[in-house]
Subunit: 394 residues, 2 copies
């Protein structure tokens, strides 16, 4: 009864995810729209706002992300590496236990205890490593996300730093924060092969929180409640759901998801620990409006932009496929360096066909790339070329 | 079908609105909890998060407001002066027409046209003028709200300034922005007596937007969709729903809701245009946790604070009914001067009984009052005395 049924509100009038034009941009339209319906644990989601790729992967339609900065829970994408635990996991949220290792006094603490230790709130872009996979040519395995495996969420929880201090500090020699998810290991499989256990560099602790709240509500089961590790500026997979163990470790975990999974390498090369891990996110932006053909005249081109761990410095918009660029305005509240910013450029468009795209620059001078080199698993296509949309103005 | 049915998620474990202790604080417990169920237009709301005072007045439970700054749509309070229009009003949102008067070229514009003119996003505290009415002794008529006729919302729409410019500018002599709601006037009543038509000073235009989006979703019908006048820093009534007319006028409207309603005057004195109107909000704060009896030890006391049109400078917390005060920390993203801030004070509480309250100060040096003088209609009780909660620590 914790994540009960909801009939969608039909608020969303638009929201095509696959508006990238095949011909003009040289990319085949990704396989979208096989709406098999929402799985039981996500029945409360806004069905019309989502593309259901599978029972554990649901993408937010591109046009659903609008100009109000925060992505409402009921439209945030879902991506689970393993099936989520049953409803009982959120039956008594405060009783959920998480064990801490690699600290002065290793022990377990309940969510109820953590809530007494401290409170921190942070807005972050939550983005799946594979967001944009559908824009690569090489048909990498995995969901063919375009832009919609991303949202901007406000989390509340306890700063991890406060927990470590309470437990006597981090042990000497620790270099990573290793978090383990509480999903059940499917029968017949080796835990090491499928367990969601991720290590991130220790310096991520400065901003990490153990979160129990997502956009003002207890974290829904679909999103990792009762407790989720939130590592601001890092790809989604590092934000471990149903977190049951946090260890400060000298080495990265040897779980497959860390050792060979989520490693950036050339196409057809196997994953290995010496390859870059999907940790800090790249600077990226995309247009969310217009996506469909429109009438001539003044059009407000808008979208979202973020810099991973760095704030966005500026966003440029092109209506001619990158030949010329104009500075867009950043509007609305600035939720901090880990959140995305909404950008807007008013443009007077005569009848014709336009290839509209955006290019973000962060405060460190990192510029969103034009094109993303293929990588075996199709991680994070960030190129402004294929993130473009083609719009006909009548 | 626009605002269809939703079965609540039962996310909320706590949330007593009436935790004010009658004895200690000298106030009778307001009449709460007559949960008659949500009306059809608000079926999609989180039933367990709300106290249904009537079919047009629903209060957010005090403990539901937590530390993530933004109040999700499904828990935002509802207060309609007239019954909301039928579902047809949101059937074709972009087709909704609003007429503009008192400008160079008076004419109507559709929401679709407005969306082409400009985009602005602002976070505001939305608070009913009567929030806190239940804390007065004199049993003013109206809903006995305690703290829950308030939320913090992110709106997107077109800046009113951009609309005025498009229409040739505001006419000479205009001193007010007068907005008219699109509710149907009940048969047999004089329009002037019941119409929702509010005037605010022209200088509010600097921040006002005509909004179509609320927290990332098209504004629900319960909250004024398809289009709402948002006047940041002003009490809720000035944020006219279903806005169908915006006039720049030399005088305030003579509608009853403006001329004699929402006027601050002594108890048993009638309303009149020379009395202060419920425009800019006062500096105010309240504790949202703890509200219930708790165990001894470290407790994170948290709540929300805002300054109307001014940013919050500081918040102090007292655990002894105002005898002594300690500075709380403001945490999380700062959404701008019209939003509220979340404050937190860690406190080590021994067994005993505590009267916990908070006191906000804005950047202009305005300090939240200790007690609020009774006024006829019971508007905005902001005193930290009766906003206190009594908590027993075991």
């Amino acid at each position: 009864m914790k994540d009960a049924i909801r009939i969608h509100r039909r608020h969303f009038l638009v929201g095509a995810a696959g508006t990238v034009s095949a011909g003009a941009l040289g990319v085949s339209a990704p396989a979208l729209g096989q709406d098999g319906g929402l799985p039981p644990y996500a029945q409360w989601k806004e069905a019309e706002a989502l593309i259901v790729h599978s029972q554990n992967t649901m993408e937010t339609k591109r046009g659903v992300i609008s100009t109000s900065v925060v992505t409402p829970n009921d439209v945030v994408f879902v991506r689970n590496n393993l099936s989520p635990p049953g409803e009982e996991i959120v039956a008594d949220r405060d009783a959920w236990e998480v064990s801490f290792e690699g600290v002065g006094e290793a022990r377990s603490m309940s969510v109820g205890e953590l809530k007494r230790l401290g409170v921190g709130t942070v807005a972050t872009v939550l983005q799946c490593s594979g967001n944009g996979r559908g824009l690569f040519d090489h048909e990498a395995s995995g969901s063919p996300w375009v832009t919609g495996a991303a949202g901007c969420v406000i989390w509340s929880g306890v700063p991890l730093q406060a927990v470590a201090e309470e437990l006597g500090g981090v042990s000497d020699g620790a270099q990573y924060i290793t978090s383990t998810g509480g999903e059940e290991i499917p029968e017949g499989l080796e835990a090491k092969d499928v367990i969601v256990e991720r290590s991130v560099p220790l310096d991520a602790m400065e901003n990490a929180i153990l979160a129990w709240e997502m956009n003002g509500e207890p974290i829904p089961r679909a999103h990792g409640g009762p407790l989720r590790m939130v590592v601001p500026g890092y790809y989604g997979v590092n934000n471990v759901k149903y977190v049951k163990r946090v260890a400060f470790t000298a080495e990265q975990t040897d779980a497959k998801i860390q050792a060979s999974g989520y490693r950036v390498r050339p196409v057809d090369v196997g994953g290995a620990p010496d390859q870059p891990s999907m940790w800090e996110m790249k600077v990226k932006s995309w247009v969310t409006h217009p996506l469909m053909d429109t009438e001539s005249g003044r059009v407000q081109i808008h979208g979202v932009a973020f810099g991973g761990v760095n704030p966005v410095e500026k966003v440029e918009v092109s209506t001619d496929g990158g030949e010329t660029w104009q500075d867009a305005s950043l509007i609305g509240p600035d939720l901090g360096r880990f959140a995305w910013r909404v950008f807007v450029l008013p443009a007077d468009l005569e009848p014709g066909t336009y290839t509209i795209t955006s290019r973000a620059t962060d405060t460190e001078g990192n510029v969103q790339e034009q094109s993303t080199e293929p990588n075996h698993r199709g991680y994070d296509y960030s190129g402004w070329d294929r993130l473009a949309v083609e719009v006909t103005v009548a």
